[in-house]
């Protein structure tokens, strides 16, 4: 299920260079998708009727935005791949992480990126508790709607408790890193670049954990065959709780990295739930690299699309991609047909 054994992330923009023969047919589609994206961008440049500088800018913005999307989606895809549940509270947990970082920065006087590091264990613990206390029983029973409803309730609860505590007024996280620099014709802000690099690091670290450690092996075993894994002595409940914790920790990183350039309201993370879901479907359920590639594609679609459809119009394009994927390849780019 987890596709983590293909190529490591960070290389997703260019095609993987070494291929084992058995994977050749499976890797053709990702190649095709990347090629299609490149061709699409070239078309926008040549016959799109927009200024090249403008296009370069939106590509840069799109890739950086996509990195952030990827970060939220990686957690979601991991939880989905291993536990088989869609975490509807992913966006709300992102908001929670942002407020946590905000609180640490404001009351502790800690720089934002250090606060992010502090938020990671807290959110990890939060995730473990949520899974162990609320979801494990339902997950073990193979109930699909139950976890969805519980996470829906959790999402509403987090948003409204934040509303009760912090109020609805937008807040800004003070940050020391500021400014921007130029790449080609595009302006890139440092904050967004740091978020992008952070996303790749997290995806890389996650892949290393999943592939290289015995803990990762247990997670993959549970994902592939829950019963088999428990027969050979894997504590499935523990793995479930840890996986949800890791998914939640990913959101903590995402929240901390995004907090500097978003204004905080209790509903700021809400849109990410559905975007992350679309990205996970596009990339393939349970695939970490799929989430990264999907995130980058969706980021590009949104910003380059915004050249032609301003405002919320470009989100319609994102949903169009989603419907197209449902139609043509519901298992996603890196997914395996079940």
């Amino acid at each position: 299920m987890t596709d983590t054994s293909t190529s490591p992330p960070g290389r997703e923009v260019e095609p993987p260079k070494e291929e084992r023969p058995g994977r050749l047919t499976r890797s053709l589609l990702p190649l095709g998708v990347v090629a299609a994206v490149v061709v699409g961008l070239v078309l926008v440049y040549t016959v799109g009727g927009k200024e090249p500088g403008q296009v370069t800018q939106s590509i840069a913005t799109g890739l950086l935005l996509g990195g952030v999307y990827a970060l939220v989606s990686v957690g979601l895809t991991l939880i989905f791949g291993v536990l088989g549940i869609v975490n509807f509270a992913q966006g709300a947990m992102l908001t929670l992480a942002m407020y946590l970082v905000y609180e640490i920065v404001v009351s502790g006087g800690v720089p934002v990126y250090l606060a992010t590091l502090l938020a990671i264990p807290v959110m990890f613990f939060f995730g473990v508790v949520v899974q162990a206390a609320l979801l494990n029983r339902l997950t073990m029973a193979g109930n699909e709607e139950g976890p969805l409803l519980v996470t829906l309730g959790l999402s509403l609860l987090i948003i409204n408790v934040l509303l009760m505590v912090f109020g609805g007024r937008p807040k800004r996280v003070p940050t020391s890193v500021d400014g921007s620099f130029h790449v080609l014709d595009a302006i890139v802000s440092w904050e967004r670049l740091i978020a992008f690099v952070g996303a790749l690091l997290v995806a890389g670290a996650l892949t290393l954990i999943l592939r290289g450690t015995s803990f990762g092996l247990s997670i993959r075993a549970v994902s592939a065959n829950t019963q088999g894994a428990s027969l050979v002595g894997v504590d499935v409940r523990r793995i479930y709780a840890m996986t949800f914790g890791i998914g939640s920790a990913c959101v903590a990183v995402a929240g901390g990295l995004m907090a500097p350039f978003l204004s905080l309201t209790p509903t700021v993370g809400e849109q990410f739930t559905i975007l992350a879901f679309i990205i996970v479907v596009l990339g393939g359920l349970g695939s970490v690299i799929g989430a990264v590639v999907g995130g980058l594609i969706i980021g590009l679609v949104q910003t380059v699309g915004a050249l032609y459809l301003p405002g919320t119009g470009s989100l319609i394009l994102v949903f169009a991609v989603f419907v197209l994927v449902l139609f043509l390849r519901p298992q996603g780019i890196f997914g395996v047909k079940q």
């Binding site: 549940i85 869609v86 509807f88 609320l134 029983r137 339902l138 109930n143 699909e144 709607e145 139950g146 976890p147 969805l148 409803l149 519980v150 829906l152 309730g153 959790l154 999402s155 509403l156 609860l157 948003i159 409204n160 408790v161 934040l162 509303l163 009760m164 109020g167 609805g168 209790p266 809400e270 559905i274 879901f277 679309i278 479907v281 359920l285 459809l309 405002g311 919320t312 119009g313 989100l315 319609i316 949903f319 989603f322 419907v323 449902l326 139609f327 519901p330």
Partner: protein
Amino acid sequence: MTVLAERSPHVGSDDPRLKDRSTARTCVALVVVLAVAAVLPLVVDEQTETIAVRTLIFAIMAVGWNLMSGYGGMFSFGHAAFFGIGAYTDAYLLVEHGISPWISMVVGAAISAAAGTIIAFLCLRYRLAGAYFALATFAFAEVFLLWVQNLDFLRRTEGFNVPLLPANSWSMMQFEQGSHLYYWIPLAILGVGLFGTVAFVSSRVGQYAQAVRDDEVAAASLGIPVMRVRLLTVALSCGFTSLAGSFYTQYYFFVGPEQAFGSAVSVNAIIPAVIGGIGTLWGPLVGALVVGPLSEWIANVLREPPAFLDFLQGVTGLDVAVYAVLLIVIVLFMPKGIYGTLRDRFRP
């Protein structure tokens, strides 16, 4: 009671197992409940009536949602799409073309049923089930929201105001403020929905739908046309939900994208049914009776909080937080909902 059962075209099968008297009993109970509900506005004050109307809108949506998600087993997280289609069809036809809301209701229900069928077909074609199906429907509801916000003829984010008429008008479904008709009309719609649910459940299609929900493969192997049954269930559910939207526009005289297609609307359709009991006739009703007055009740508590709740004064968000906790607790500890659990306890 038996007379009713024999008159009903759906129950008169020869198979003795299908000859249940419970349907007749249910119908009698429904008539009693609706009759009691009908005299309610004559004895309560205006503010309570407003809450009752909102509760009725909740109940209509939940009954619609329950058809597809409870009896059909296809969990929808995007019923805002169908509520919104009803609300906007009504608003658009009334404001731009002066067409009677009664006609718009039918038109809206038809459009909504068609849209629901297409969406469900797209999702079911690839056997999207469970959570995957739920989130796909959620995504479609978001698409509708974005569309409306970007379409000029639907006035983008401005929404529609229903023009006020100088006098009462049945044809335009507009009455003086505080008229009991604003309560009786949704009650009648709810009645149609509840009797419709009874008829559906005991009909052949309804039985098929439940068989498909419980075991798709077994149902298909018995020759049940799985896809057709499912799509029919979806069409009924979506069409009915849109009626709630049409009435909403008429009652509040305004509809905007968020009120019609926002994700909160989908949640409002789900929560009463889940709290009351998924896949039961009375569940959505019980749930709506809990959820409808809850926010009012909490607002009352907050206005003059007891000493130990003083810190909550002037805080927004508590009502939804309470819903959320209620939802989590019910799903974890009473998965059949309030009605379902009570029924199981008191049934021999």
